[in-house]
């Protein structure tokens, strides 16, 4: 933990690139060992073409935009809501006990079952899509925040009170930063859930976005398009998580928690 600071930085950057090694190996094996005419597993070399075709149709960019808007909006709402609720639930057993059964219940309702109901109540528009995605991706943030809240040393909150900090100061200057590692962890999990559910809602709800292209590809037997889109989604997830991880790393370094 001593001279690791400069190395740590390069390790983070290294992880960002070298971490793709297993994926590269997998794709390589796929390319060379799976027969070129495989119906379900077309070799990766055919994917860019499929993507280009989609892009030439003019449907790729708008689809990506639609999906991105829903996803980012939902992730932002889920982060704010999850943090706020997690903070409440983590700080009070009196709130946690009555809410847990209801929360666990709603957590388990499969999103495909929620979509029709919310479509009824809210309409098939972006706000419905965002609601569904929030309802699905809220939980990791909420649970991680609550768990982190229970682990904040009591001395820290007492200190804030003792210094005469206002409620808002205690929350924003002491509590939220204390919870940041937990929130970050929750966001990292939520990112993938939110993306997956956004795609699902693309299909079931708004009928637009990458999810729709994915399903069209699947139902019209264009496996290369499907895999290419999955690659795009994966790369997007990887970039996004890279950003979250970088933020998390910075944070943890400030915390003195990284070995």
């Amino acid at each position: 933990m001593t001279t690791a600071v400069p190395r740590r930085q390069s390790r983070v950057r290294g992880a960002f690139v070298f971490g793709l090694l297993p994926l590269a190996v997998l794709l390589g094996c796929w390319q060379f060992f799976v027969p070129a005419d495989s119906r379900a597993f077309p070799p990766p070399s055919t994917w860019p073409g499929a993507l280009a075709e989609l892009s030439a149709e003019g449907s790729l960019i708008p689809a990506v935009r639609t999906t991105l808007v829903t996803f980012l909006l939902a992730l932002a709402v889920a982060t704010v809501l999850g943090t706020a609720l997690g903070m409440l639930i983590g700080s009070s057993r009196r709130l946690e006990r009555p809410l847990t059964p209801v929360m666990d219940f709603f957590r388990t309702l499969p999103p495909p079952a929620m979509v029709p109901v919310l479509a009824l109540l809210l309409g098939t528009n972006t706000s419905m899509a965002v609601t569904v995605v929030v309802l699905a991706s809220l939980w990791p943030i909420l649970l991680n925040t609550a768990s982190e809240r229970r682990n904040v040393p009591p001395v820290r909150m007492e200190m804030a009170r003792s210094l005469g900090l206002r409620w808002s100061e205690r929350v924003f200057k002491v509590l939220l930063p204390s919870l940041a590692p937990g929130i970050m962890l929750g966001v990292r999990v939520a990112v993938s859930i939110a993306l997956i559910v956004t795609l699902l809602v693309d299909i079931l709800g708004t009928g637009e976005g990458i999810g729709r292209e994915l399903m069209l590809g699947q139902q019209s037997f264009k496996p290369a398009t499907v895999w290419a889109l999955l690659l795009v989604i994966g790369v997007f997830g990887y970039l996004l998580n890279g950003a979250v991880a970088a933020a998390e790393n910075r944070l943890m370094r400030k915390w003195g928690r990284r070995r």
């Binding site: 040393p153 001395v155 820290r156 007492e158 200190m159 804030a160 009170r161 003792s162 210094l163 005469g164 900090l165 206002r166 100061e169 200057k173 002491v174 930063p177 204390s178 940041a180 944070l251 400030k254 915390w255 003195g256 928690r257």
Partner: protein
């Protein structure tokens, strides 16, 4: 006042019938064996724990105005914010109200008082134990509290730093007139700083001695400790602490 806390086997009484009044501007040192409830008493005074019976009043009021009663905690490791630099830890209590320039001035001042002027951009985990405790003291001083509660403030410090900070405390207290209550394991420190020394003893802890220290002020490390009254107070306190053990 009495205090009960929960333990593995039900509630356990920590403090019993502790009653006292501290005058404005008075300095009170609390001594007592480990685990007798000194920290708990300070927590009650600081409003962090509710007494199961009895109450705490400040200037005749049961509720504290924010920032008037500030505590320096024993557990400095958790009382500092690891993500803030030393300077920003110190400024935590004065970020509201004070202008930027004035705030930076005040932070620089208190850091100089505790001898950490060069370390303002380090983070707490880059400091030694004693330095962390000094940051905590600086943070408390920065808000210029009316009542200062300190739990073993100088416990992690070497003799020289300790003596320096003791004198800093006395000087600042004389300037601001802040009522000061502190816990220490060092009888000499208790006497040197205080107007009265309390001894907490027993389990559950109770206040067995309130020894007045009528030594003249300003005090100095050399002269005060040679004063005859100093020795007699020291004797009385040592007696009280020893008796309890026997």
């Amino acid at each position: 006042m009495s205090v009960e806390l929960m333990s593995a086997d039900g509630p356990r009484q920590i403090l019993r019938d502790v009653n006292f009044t501290v005058g404005a501007g008075e300095i009170v040192g609390i001594v007592g064996r480990s685990g007798t409830g000194k920290t708990t008493l300070l927590r009650v005074l600081g409003g962090m724990v509710r007494a199961s019976s009895g109450l705490v009043e400040l200037h005749g009021r049961a509720d504290n105005l924010p920032g008037t009663v500030v505590t320096v905690f024993q557990d400095y490791g958790n009382a500092l914010l690891p993500w803030r630099s030393v300077a920003r830890n110190v400024s935590l209590g004065i970020e509201r109200g004070l202008g930027r320039a004035e705030r930076e001035q005040r932070v620089a001042d208190v850091l100089r008082l505790v001898g950490l002027e060069g370390r303002s951009s380090d983070h707490p985990w880059q400091l030694s134990g004693g330095m962390q405790q000094r940051v905590q003291i600086a943070r408390a001083l920065a808000v210029e509290p009316r009542v200062l509660l300190m739990d073993e403030p100088f416990g992690a410090l070497d003799a020289i730093t300790k003596a320096t900070l003791q004198d800093v405390l006395l000087r600042i207290q004389a300037q601001t007139g802040a009522t000061t209550i502190f816990i220490t394991h060092d009888i000499d420190e208790a006497i040197y700083l205080s107007d009265r020394v309390f001894v907490i003893a027993g389990s559950p802890g109770s206040l067995i001695v309130q020894e007045p220290v009528d030594l003249p002020r300003p005090r100095t490390q050399l002269e005060t400790r040679e004063h005859p009254r100093y020795l007699s107070v020291r004797h009385a306190l040592a007696e009280a602490l020893r008796e309890e053990t026997a």
